[in-house]
């Protein structure tokens, strides 16, 4: 308790995505008393991924709460606290455990402001370690963002670098409306970036152009950002200039950035790890079909998980998009002119 008012630590060294999450949580807890963290094992244990490591020691057990083992409970308490003026940041331990939270997110979080004409609102964040590729057990590897993207009133955010994780989590906590904040667990510790602990939020209403290009647009989010950038590298070696866009905030979508890119390149490959049918890639392809048809010189391509469950880990890499699959799709698109 003594160090409750200790200054935020300076971070001179590069940090991983998961460390960036912790840094953002600590920053915001330090600067805003109404921020509390809750979830299963987030206290002494610091979360199964260590996202909340050290926070309970630093801020006390009234700011970092272990919950009973029930996701309905976590969602309900979160909505209850948020609607009474706190800013809860809840953690779902894994993607596969958000389903019992759907009811509260859809029926209450997303509608509190709407239903009461602004009298109450719901400034909450639900953090969800998201996606496959870490050889985890069943239900620990699911890319289920599409469950939330047809639900008005929510924001669905998926950062894919330490810097974006930090800045977008700050933005999510400060946002007066509910945010589903999905974290690509496969890249939690993949690489490090310098992330100054300056409390600077990043916008939640833009797509991030990670690489400029002129021949083809590669649109993606989450763990696949890495594969997509590598695919762009591979294409570059063959003289193809690929623009890479990290959608980062799925809803509300910044389609303009994508449309501008496609206006320039005329070709688009959408990459995501969720099953293809009715994955969020469909929305982007649909918008292209509606608004960019005359810009397209090749059919839109989607590189996605198959329309099946992500298999247990012996087969999971065969399910996920890969650099090779992305390059192959890009080449199909480039074959048109």
């Amino acid at each position: 308790m003594a160090d409750r008012k200790a200054p935020a630590p300076i971070t001179p060294a590069p940090i991983t995505l998961i460390e960036a999450i912790t840094q953002a949580l600590a920053y915001e807890m330090q600067h805003d008393d109404s921020v509390v963290v809750l979830g299963e094992d987030v206290g002494v244990n610091g979360g199964v991924f260590r996202a909340t490591a050290g926070l309970q020691q630093r801020f006390g057990d009234e700011r970092v709460l272990d919950t009973p083992l029930d996701e309905t409970t976590i969602a309900g308490l979160t909505v209850g606290m948020a609607s009474q003026g706190m800013k809860p940041v809840a953690e779902a331990q894994f993607d596969g455990f958000v389903y019992p939270m759907v009811d509260f997110l859809v029926c209450h979080a997303a509608r509190m402001r709407y239903r009461t004409r602004g009298r109450l609102h719901c400034p909450m964040v639900l953090r969800v370690p998201w996606g496959g590729g870490i050889r985890a057990p069943e239900h620990h590897s699911e890319a289920n963002e599409a469950i939330f993207t047809n639900v008005p009133g929510l924001r669905v955010v998926l950062p894919s670098s330490p810097q974006r994780a930090y800045g977008m989590l700050l933005a999510a906590i400060r946002d007066p409306d509910p945010v589903i904040f999905m974290e690509p667990k496969r890249i939690y510790r993949q690489y490090k970036e310098l992330v100054p602990d300056d409390g600077e939020a990043l916008p939640l209403d833009v797509c991030y152009v990670l690489r400029d290009g002129s021949d083809i647009t590669l649109v993606t989010w989450g763990s696949q950002v890495k594969e997509t950038l590598e695919a762009a590298d591979a294409l570059a070696k063959e003289g193809v200039s690929a623009e890479v866009i990290d959608v980062a905030t799925l809803t509300p979508l910044d389609f303009d950035t994508i449309a501008e890119s496609v206006a320039k390149t005329g070709r688009c490959v959408i990459v995501h790890e969720a099953a293809r049918t009715a994955g969020f890639g469909a929305e982007i392809a649909a918008r292209l079909a509606e608004e960019c048809m005359y810009d397209l010189v090749a059919p839109v391509e989607r590189v996605t998980g198959y329309d099946t469950h992500i298999p247990l880990f012996r087969l999971e890499m065969k399910f996920l998009p890969s650099v090779e699959k992305i390059v192959a799709a890009a080449k199909r698109a480039l074959a048109h002119s």
């Binding site: 919950t67 009973p68 309905t72 309900g76 009474q84």
Partner: protein, 358 residues
């Protein structure tokens, strides 16, 4: 036999159906005169209820959930609360809400298909009506948790029905309130029916009160047609909550004298006899008799008050009927604090469309 745990659940009743005390009255509610404002409130609710039903029958209101028969529970709960407490109703506790400042016209607006009904003048922090059964209980537990964490001297009170006590969200509220020792009062208003499903089909438990044991909460079963028992039960639960002794589950035994809502026809599934019998135990008669015996109320007063109630309700109905429909952009204007660019375009398109075709 080694005993791991032992429990007893108390039943509270003070006024019998005939209006005569069946037990020594609790200290706090000995003064009959002090009950008169509450009785008047019960009469007001009943007036509001019957006029609302009539309004629905003439097509001027959507589906309406009546509160007939629940007046003592609803008003008693409302009377027990402070403004800074948080109330999380289901969808028929108008009696409690009126006491907290919700206006009848707001109730009508809500059932009349207008979101502005939920933007009520009652305590601004109270929850709106809640259609997804019992989710309000768990939300209230979250509210109570926020009070505890911020060391606020406030209590969260949620209502659900006998049916609602089967809902997993109800159990989650019990469990979390127990785990965190929260200032939460869960009022289970057992009116015998969940639409067509009788109380007996909901659970194998002898009482609904005992569900609180699952979370180590204080449990109480109460005659919900007896205003004094309701007040005393709530008083005890509030006291525990404020003292940091944790949450309560109170089962209020009452009866749904009307159809489930105006969209329902209870004759399909329950007998006339049962309803007739329930009328002999309803909450107004006994309280009236009690107050009359205590010389705190008489027929003349009642007639005058009922006339006042009628006028007041008519006024509210008129105010409701005069409310203009929201413009089309109202769909967008409360979705996010700031409308995202994407939606701004849709909003403009909607306005333009209505201008041309609306």
């Amino acid at each position: 036999m080694t005993v791991a745990a032992k429990f007893e659940i108390e039943y509270l009743q003070y006024l019998g159906p005939d209006g005569k005390p069946v037990a020594a009255l609790p200290k706090a509610f000995k003064d009959a005169k002090a009950l008169v404002p509450l009785f008047k409130q019960m009469l007001f609710v009943r007036t509001f209820d019957s006029k609302s039903i009539a309004l629905q029958r003439t097509g001027k209101l959507g589906t309406y959930a009546a509160s007939l028969g629940h007046e003592a529970v609803h008003v008693g709960i409302g009377a027990s609360m402070r403004p800074e407490d948080v109330f999380a109703p289901s969808y028929r506790e108008y009696g409690a809400q009126f006491m907290r400042g919700v206006r009848p016209r707001e109730v009508l607006m809500y059932w009349g298909g207008d979101e502005r009904g939920n933007d009520f003048e009652g305590p601004r922090h109270d929850y709106p009506w809640c259609v997804p059964i019992s989710t309000q209980c768990l939300m209230a537990s979250g509210a109570a948790l926020s009070f505890k964490l911020r060391k606020q001297d406030r209590v969260a009170v949620a209502c659900c029905g006998d049916g609602g006590s089967s809902k997993t969200d109800f159990y989650a509220a019990v469990n979390s309130a127990g785990a965190y020792k929260l200032p939460l009062i869960l009022c289970v208003i057992n009116n015998g029916w969940a639409i067509s499903v009788p109380r007996t089909a909901q659970t194998g438990a002898e009482t609904l009160a005992q569900k609180g044991l699952a979370g180590g909460l204080h449990c109480l079963q109460v005659d919900g047609n007896d205003l004094i028992a309701v007040l005393e039960a709530m008083r005890r639960a509030h006291e525990r909550a404020r003292k940091g002794e944790g949450g309560s589950v109170i089962e209020f035994m009452t009866y749904r004298l009307h159809d489930h809502t105006t969209a329902d026809d209870a004759r399909r599934y329950r007998g006339e006899d049962e309803v007739k019998d329930a009328w002999t135990r309803e909450p107004m008669i006994r309280l009236r008799k009690y107050l009359e015996a205590a010389k705190a109320w008489d027929e003349k007063q009642e007639a005058a008050w009922l006339e006042e109630c009628g006028k007041k309700v008519d006024e509210e109905i008129n105010a409701y009927l005069e409310t203009k429909v929201q413009p089309v952009e109202a769909m967008f204007d409360y979705l996010y604090a700031e409308l995202p660019a994407e939606l701004a375009a849709q909003r403009e398109a909607a306005i333009a469309w209505e201008k041309r075709n609306g």
